[in-house]
Amino acid sequence: MTYLEARKNRVPSIVSGIALACGIVVVFGSVMQFFRPSFFPAMVTTLVRPFWRAELSLKLGSMRTPGELLQDNQFLERKLDDANVRLKTIQSVLTENAELKALMGRASTTPYILAAVLKHPPTAGYDELIIDAGDDAGFSVGNNVYAVGDVLIGRVAEAQSQTSKVRLYSSPGERYSVLIGPDHSPATAVGRGGGQYEAELPRDIKVSAGDFVLDLSLNDRPFGVVISVLSDPAQPFEKVLFAPPVNIYELRWVLVDPKIRLI
């Protein structure tokens, strides 16, 4: 009887098969690395890249449900809105700060008192300002009122306990003595309303648009800027139209000189 000794022969054959396989791998790998060094890295990396990306997504928390993403989106939008509102508030405060600095820089060397404009044309009627200081701040009728840049714009017409009414020199019918142009020609400014003045000068006095109009004080404070000159050859006088260098519709702060009273 003959017995098959399969086991004895099989094990070495497996080892030799593995050795052969390893040899093939080594030879194949060496050849590939010699001719195409990036073949294996490119191939394996391409296969693995999606897994790496998924892992990164998990780490970054981007693998979330649409509901969670929408919730996050809404939360971030709310935060953005809050931030925008805060930014606008900051910008407003910065503007106010700059205005106050401009005013107080001047006021620090003068006895002027700062007052906020509560109402101004056109919301306030009669072409006047309502400011937030009155008797309590020592204001009285006739006190001069200045805008930013030391521009004389009006006088206190009525001082109440905590508010005052300021009559603008540009109000219709108001009159104020000024000096116009480079020759400082004296004239009387007549208010036309809406922050506009007019004055009459002899025709031979040269005045042009852009010339400054000063008030009669020793400081030569700016009162207005000539906008246009209307000349009629038939008339001996020309009409000079001018406006204050500040926009009275945008006034937020004014300075009041409680010592000077012009009635």
């Binding site: 094990v11 098969g17 593995i18 050795a19 396989a21 890295p41 394996v44």
Partner: protein, 88 residues
């Protein structure tokens, strides 16, 4: 037989995960165990090549860039040889 195949697939998946993570020194003992229990465990060889392809095989590294492949070949030969000696 089916149970053994199932375990082998599980170990292969673990091996792939470990290689992708770059944990070669964790993958190696797993491959060694696989090589001991399963016949012709060529997965360790593929794991070595994959590991080197992902993290090695950089020009200028020389043979150290092929350490995964070399180690896996050595391990596979040693385990297969040991198995043949022990089970003779």
């Amino acid at each position: 037989m089916k149970h053994k195949l199932f375990v082998r697939i599980i170990i292969d998946i673990v091996l792939v995960f470990l290689v992708i993570q770059g944990w070669w020194f964790v993958a190696l003992p797993i491959g060694l165990i696989g090589g001991w229990f399963f016949p012709f465990y060529a997965e360790i060889l593929l794991a070595g090549i994959a590991y080197d392809s992902l993290f090695g095989m950089v020009p200028g590294m020389g043979f150290s860039g092929y350490l995964g492949t070399i180690v896996s070949i050595v391990v596979l030969l040693i385990v297969s040889g040991s198995k043949s000696l022990v089970r003779r």
